[in-house]
């Protein structure tokens, strides 16, 4: 089948979406952006096509007994295979890094550590993917860091070795791992996943049929369009590159056709976009000289307060009173938050104040773009944060009335990539050589 894909190369994450000829989304992929943009794009795209194959597989396996559970297990087993593939690369890179002069005085200890790490990391993967069904993160880097830190802390305590040394070894090696495009062969890995789950002794022929059907379907990469901050690095000709403004406008319209105003808060920029009924952009504003109040702000605050980023929103929702934070400058906000803590303010109240501060700044940008019209769609990584959503709903209500419908899609982080994929479909159709 003909497939069209959009890639949104953002400052924090790279997203890819695959669509069929009728503009239906058939696959999504996401990875963390890294110093090698080409690798980030390739990985996100590969993940999206793998997701598309799983979509086909899901359709095929619907008639199986307990199909949901079987499908989910198979997916996790596949993810474990991906994890193990990258782990193999990581172990190799860790060993390579030992050649560097700074590690030469501790060569024996570090070699022993890597030897210990490998089985523990495999065990960890098997545990989180197969037994707990809950990997810590979507990204290999985070999962590997989790198990690495655990093993390194134990090892360093026992050997009286500097933890910084092992950290340095990891940082050096993970960058090399991330900058490689890993070649995940679906056919091969799905076979391994199947065998891991069912083995030769306990076959599931119907599932195997479905797998073979999915494997046998040709997914043709017909046309792709790139967008996002690093879009000029994408391996596309200029006409296949669209600004993220247009892609977010169109993507928001795809998810919520009533959209007239879009707010996107990403890692380093905030966009206020006005669109017409077809998702065409009529006006927009972006932060210009500074990235205060963008997604990275929350990341920094989480670090300052030593709270995992995903916990920031839920904690802020426990706020009992309104603490005003004036600064959206990331550095100054850190100082302001320490001041408030010193004043005896509660952590959750301060956190809610921080969320209100960034939303307040976003509203000013929206006002500059032409205000908020019904319906209003909130997208980007920050839209996943419930405290940001709460602050937005309150402030929109106060400033534009309660009648404005606010849309937030669970996968709003893909909005830009959806828009890009739609452009790819349209461009292909406009050429007139569609089947």
């Amino acid at each position: 089948m003909k497939c069209f894909y959009g890639i949104d190369l953002g400052s924090t994450t790279t997203k890819a979406v695959v669509m069929d000829h009728e503009s239906h989304i058939i696959g999504r992929g996401i990875t963390n952006s890294r110093s090698n943009y080409d690798a980030a794009c390739e990985i996100a795209k590969t993940e999206a096509f793998i997701d598309a194959r799983f979509g086909l597989l899901k359709k095929q396996s619907r008639k199986l007994e307990d199909s949901e559970a079987v499908f989910k297990k198979l997916r996790r087993a596949f993810e474990l295979e991906e994890y193990l593939e990258q782990l193999k690369t990581l172990i190799h890179e860790l060993r390579q890094s030992l050649d560097e002069p700074r590690f030469k005085n501790n060569l024996r200890d570090l070699s022993e550590f890597i030897g210990l790490l490998e089985p523990r990391a495999i065990q960890y993967g098997e545990q989180v993917y197969l037994k707990d069904d809950k990997p810590g993160s979507d990204f290999f880097r985070d999962n590997a860091a989790m198990v690495y830190t655990r093993v390194a802390e134990e090892f360093c305590a026992k050997k009286r070795l500097s933890f910084d040394l092992t950290s340095g070894l990891f940082d050096r090696s993970i960058i090399r791992v991330e900058n490689q495009t890993y070649n995940i062969d679906f056919d091969d890995k799905i076979q391994s996943a199947y065998e891991r789950l069912f083995g030769r002794k306990n076959p599931n022929p119907k599932l195997l049929d479905a797998i073979n059907m999915s494997r046998g379907t040709k997914l043709e990469e017909t046309l792709g369009v790139g967008t996002g901050y690093g879009r000029l690095r994408l391996p596309f000709p200029k006409k296949q590159i669209r600004s993220e403004i247009l892609c977010h406008g169109l993507g928001a319209n795809y998810m919520f056709p009533g959209t007239r105003t879009v707010l996107d808060i990403g890692g380093q920029d905030t966009k206020g976009i006005q669109v017409d009924g077809e998702g065409l952009v009529s006006s927009f504003q972006m932060n210009d000289r500074c990235a205060a109040g963008c997604g990275r702000y929350l990341g920094y605050i989480a670090e300052e307060m030593n709270i995992p980023l995903p916990d920031l929103g839920p904690l802020a929702l426990d706020a009992k009173k309104n603490v005003k934070i004036n600064s959206t400058c990331t550095v100054f906000a850190g100082a302001e938050l320490r001041d408030r803590l010193a004043d005896g303010q509660q952590r959750e109240d301060i956190l809610m104040g921080l969320h209100r501060a960034i939303i307040f700044r976003a509203l000013s940008l929206l006002a500059r773009s032409g205000g908020i019209r019904d319906e209003f769609t909130f997208t980007g990584g920050v839209a996943k944060n419930q405290a940001a959503v709460k602050a937005l709903s309150e402030l929109v209500g106060e400033n534009y009335g309660k009648d404005i419908k606010i849309n937030i899609a669970p996968d709003s982080i893909f909005t830009g990539a959806i828009g890009a994929a739609l452009f790819a479909v349209r461009e292909y159709k406009d050429k007139g050589d569609n089947p």
């Binding site: 972006m286 210009d288 349209r426 461009e427």
Partner: protein
């Protein structure tokens, strides 16, 4: 004739004249002290350069010194110099650049020092900072200031009272100050003669700007326009050389129209005119070429701009009038773009979009210019409403490179042009 030779010929004639004019002027300035010439510092908008020259005085324009410093990549060090003296980061960067340049010995384009002022002619037109700027210079150089106060055109029209008030100031304050400085009596015939030359140059200048109504436009009326306004808004209006410059320029543009050629840019001739754009606000000078290239890469030609009106506005028919030299000077001062109200500016840009058949308009807002940037977003919305064309908004600064973020500005411009493309061509 090949395109290459056509380009060389067309580019060279007028540009060579302008180059000669500029180098001659700076040579005169560098030699001013040894030749006993007196120097008047004054500002660009609505300047009265013909009158100053009629007394045999040489003039210097601080904004021009600042922008030229930026184009020569010197402004950052001058701005830093001024900040070291205690001027805040938020002060107009033209001012800081100029102050830093003075602090560095007022080096001219060829390195020879330029002269200090003997008189500060403060023709105050719309920019409040001008007052403070010359206060600083007066304090430093201990020289006299003569104030020519231009009433703000709040109602969008020039009244007799306004004109009379300026003429009175010219007679009572400015002319006596110039007489005193030069030791010469006011010679109205000499002044009238300059007015005649001004008017002649103005006809050709206006014709050149209007040539952008052609499709394709033979000129870029913003980036290229910066060069076209050079002689008329700075030191040379009212001279034979300036009149000659505009005559030659007109001929060159006539040839370009006949050959259906687009503007010449530093990247080469513009071969395709995909977008016709109107621009509000001055260019950024530290990244002038890079900024222009961002438009060139998108095949966007600027067909009209408000910046090419900051010295004076001619489209309503104004020309310097040799028969009424003082009152027409008053009208010139009153009519310059910086002295116009927001509604007048909105109307002007709205008309440009209509008359020059523009696809859209871009506001380049200047961070450190409060008097001129205030209200630009409101203007943008109003112009959008009136014309149905989308406006783009970018923000940087005049001569402080710290406020020009190339990747962000490029990102915005690309987004804007893609938005226009969508509107023009349908969905994708």
């Amino acid at each position: 004739m090949t395109e290459k030779t056509a380009r060389e010929v067309l580019k060279d004639d007028s540009m060579m004249i302008q180059k000669k004019l500029i180098s001659g002027h700076y040579n005169n300035l560098a030699q001013a002290r040894e030749k006993g010439k007196k120097i008047v510092y004054t500002f660009v908008p609505g300047n009265i350069i013909e009158l100053v020259r009629s007394f045999g005085l040489l003039s210097m324009l601080p904004e021009i010194d600042s922008l030229q410093s930026a184009m020569r990549k010197k402004s950052d060090q001058y701005v830093a110099e001024a900040e070291k003296m205690g001027h805040s980061e938020d002060v107009c960067t033209y001012v800081k650049c100029h102050i830093g340049m003075i602090q560095s010995g007022i080096p001219g384009p060829d390195g020879r020092p330029l002269p200090e002022p003997d008189l500060l002619l403060l023709s105050y037109t719309g920019c409040f900072t001008f007052l403070k700027w010359f206060e600083l210079l007066r304090q430093r150089f201990k020289c006299p200031v003569v104030l020519l106060q231009i009433p703000y055109q709040a109602e969008g029209k020039i009244t007799k009272d306004m004109r009379d008030y300026i003429v009175k100031q010219l007679k009572d304050d400015v002319i006596p100050a110039l007489e005193k400085l030069s030791g010469m009596k006011y010679d109205e015939e000499r002044f009238k003669d300059a007015m005649r030359k001004s008017s002649q140059a103005e006809e050709d200048f206006v014709w050149t700007l209007n040539s952008a109504k052609q499709k394709p436009s033979p000129i870029d009326a913003y980036f290229g326009g910066v060069y076209y306004v050079g002689p008329i808004f700075t030191y040379f209006r009212g001279t034979d050389e300036a009149a000659e410059y505009y005559r030659v320029l007109r001929e060159e543009v006539t040839q370009r129209i006949a050959r259906k050629l687009g503007p010449i840019t530093p990247e080469g001739p513009m071969r395709n005119e995909k977008f016709r754009i109107v621009v509000e606000g001055p260019p950024n000078w530290t990244h002038f070429r890079e900024f222009w290239k961002m438009f060139y890469d998108e095949e966007a030609v600027v067909v009209a701009s408000s910046y090419t009106k900051v010295g004076g506005v001619y489209e309503s028919g104004f020309r310097h009038d040799p028969e009424n030299p003082l009152s027409s000077t008053a009208d010139y001062c009153l009519g310059c773009y910086t002295n116009l109200s927001l509604p007048s500016r909105v109307e002007m840009i709205t008309n440009y979009i209509r008359d020059f058949q523009a696809d859209g308009f871009i506001v380049h807002s200047v961070k450190s210019c409060n008097s001129f940037s205030a209200g630009q977003l409101l203007m943008l919305r109003e112009i959008e409403t009136r014309t149905g064309k989308s406006g783009g908004f970018i923000e940087s600064d005049l001569v402080d490179s710290r406020y020009f973020s190339p990747s962000n500005i490029k990102n915005r411009l690309e987004s804007y042009f893609q938005m226009l493309d969508q509107k023009k061509g349908g969905r994708s």
